[in-house]
Chain length 253, copies 2
Amino acid sequence: MTNFNLVILGMEYTYTIIDQNATSSLQLQHYLEDYGDFQCVAQATDHEDGLNTILKHHPDIVFLNLDHGASLYFQMVKELHLYMTEFPILIGISSGKDHAYDAIKNDFFDYWLLPFNEFDMRKTLLRLKKQLPKEHAGTTLCLKSYKDFHYLDTDEILYLKADNNSTDFFMKDGSTISAFKTLKTFESQLPKNFIRVHQSYILNMNYVSRINYGKSLCTLKTGKMQLPFSKTYRENIDSLKKVLSKNSITTLN
Amino acid sequence: MTNFNLVILGMEYTYTIIDQNATSSLQLQHYLEDYGDFQCVAQATDHEDGLNTILKHHPDIVFLNLDHGASLYFQMVKELHLYMTEFPILIGISSGKDHAYDAIKNDFFDYWLLPFNEFDMRKTLLRLKKQLPKEHAGTTLCLKSYKDFHYLDTDEILYLKADNNSTDFFMKDGSTISAFKTLKTFESQLPKNFIRVHQSYILNMNYVSRINYGKSLCTLKTGKMQLPFSKTYRENIDSLKKVLSKNSITTLN
DNA sequence: GAAAAACCATAGAATTTCTATGGTTTATAT
DNA sequence: ATATAAACCATAGAAATTCTATGGTTTTTC
């Protein structure tokens, strides 16, 4: 079910627009760009070019302007089934409702009336996200020992500390859990909001409230605990800063 | 994703019809009855009753006649979202195409024009089956020993023979594979086309070409091999006969 | 650049999974 | 119905896997 495109590009949906009208095509592109989460992989202006484009790029979504030669487009959609198993999501675009019936018959996901209406578009895209929930990054980690399976919600982990061969998990509720594996092994297993900042520490970005470059310390939201970071992992600290800055207004000097 | 109804009733889809018109409702019911795989769990004649019915029975599919008070039905569909997570498949029915646009906007799966057209209906139902493929009964069996995982396509298994604590699998290609488990354990693990016919045998119905009640023997298609069945498993032999007869013309005396 | 700590390979301990045995129950077939 | 045969079950020891401690090596810290 999960599309290759979605996997390698993270959470983004890829799409293709098939539209004779360059203006509406561009409008749509701009909107989707603003919206985020969508990436244009190709465009086409007629059904033949469109078929080729879809087969070449396997987009997650195909937008079709049905105003000119609708029947050819519907034919194209039927032909697509000959070649594809993972079928793209189809969204029709038209200045009238005349093609709505054929659209539903051809398994279209939605139908937009021109001129574009941001409200309608937003509704469709939200419905799409609801229906195709992207792998919300394995948010649970399993520590197993023999027949014991310990499932941790990674959102509950504040940070990890290396202790020779084993690793201690420090949880939000104050508990600590030990696992007999090196910190390095968890570096690759944990979701990307976990970053290594020190020889002995991996921390959950979601709990960092402060980065002090002078003292080389990160402060956590919970209990104002302080953890060191070091030169080796400077790049990770920078990306941490970038993520944190994204959602805040920086008070500069 | 798998609906509770679907699980306990095997492969059948449950449905509800909401239709003021008793005639079309009955027509639809009859068609679905003939088609098989569909089971009516309730009916309603208006949007209020319909809402209640859907929430009570959680049908897999809801058929809606939109000819009278379409807007009320669309409102009902919107309200449904407040209460349900596993949303039913919606199929609109109408004498005209006027509601097709609203239907697609409300996430309808399909839209049928009255009078009913068997071809259209069949197409929709096949599309539905394609999209919601029922658990096609784990057709592959895994024999594991330590870190060795041996996957068998159950379609390749002719029969199983007990050998004290272990079980021998006799395959289509002539090979035999041993597993250290009793025949009984496989009785429950294998798909339902496997039946126990003897203290020492389980066989794949798909390879049975003959049942001889006089000699208490089953003959297999491959190599004309003969396996005994016994009194204890007489009921299973009868259901085997029933299945085989279903797809053949019996020459009676 | 010295000290500390993570990392890695390995070997023995802990645990689980598998197979053989004998006794018990159930099924077969005359 | 009954003697015979074979599946079934529990169990115990064997085999395989998984885990943890040790010491040596490499990397990191300050």
